[in-house]
């Protein structure tokens, strides 16, 4: 029995479960910002775990998979940041549960 391959496939399974949770969070969260939170975090860790699992199953692919992981870790948070910034500038409404918003306060105070 190849233990490394077994560990790898279990990691892959956990990663896909995280992706599923990301989708579920995307569906359940009340406003755009919380959806970005759920989507970005869970899908990033999910894909990283999946890639690592496949890399453990096939150890000679590990270098390329590492490069792919670096690309994902670099680009995914940036795109979600740009999206959140655009949504905030566009004044997409926040959910009524929101407690406070320093950014809007600061913007209005500098304008006046």
């Amino acid at each position: 029995m190849d233990y490394l391959a077994l560990i790898g496939s279990v990691l892959t399974l956990i990663g896909t479960i995280f992706m599923f949770l990301a989708a579920l969070g995307l569906l359940r969260m009340p406003d755009v910002y919380n959806r970005i939170q759920a989507g970005t975090k869970a899908s990033t860790l999910g894909s990283v775990l999946t890639l690592l699992g496949i890399g453990l199953i096939q150890p000679d692919w590990l270098l390329k998979i590492g490069l792919l992981i670096i690309f994902i870790l670099l680009s995914n948070p940036v795109s979600s940041h740009v999206l959140g910034r655009a949504a905030h500038h566009k004044k997409v409404p926040m959910s009524p549960k929101t407690v406070l918003d320093h950014l809007t306060e600061d913007q209005t105070s500098t304008k006046n």
């Binding site: 077994l6 790898g8 496939s9 399974l13 989708a23 579920l24 569906l27 792919l68 655009a86």
Partner: protein
Amino acid sequence: MINTLLSVSLLFIALSFILIIIRFLIGTTVADRIIALDVLTVSSIGMLVILARMFDRVIYLDVAVVYGILSFIGVIVMAKYMEKSL
């Protein structure tokens, strides 16, 4: 054994695709739909890598590399269009 686990993983990804599409269909604003597209791309990177293992060809990884590096551009263009600074 390994193949069974990987098949179950593929099923989970397909389920998450369906959930993301539901969010896309009911999403109230455009930003919701863009984040749905983003998550869809990242999930399909994972799916492509699993497929590369199941078909046992290393060359399919190149497709995943192109995906991973290009998923970024579409989202940035859409976000810039949204905030009117394209």
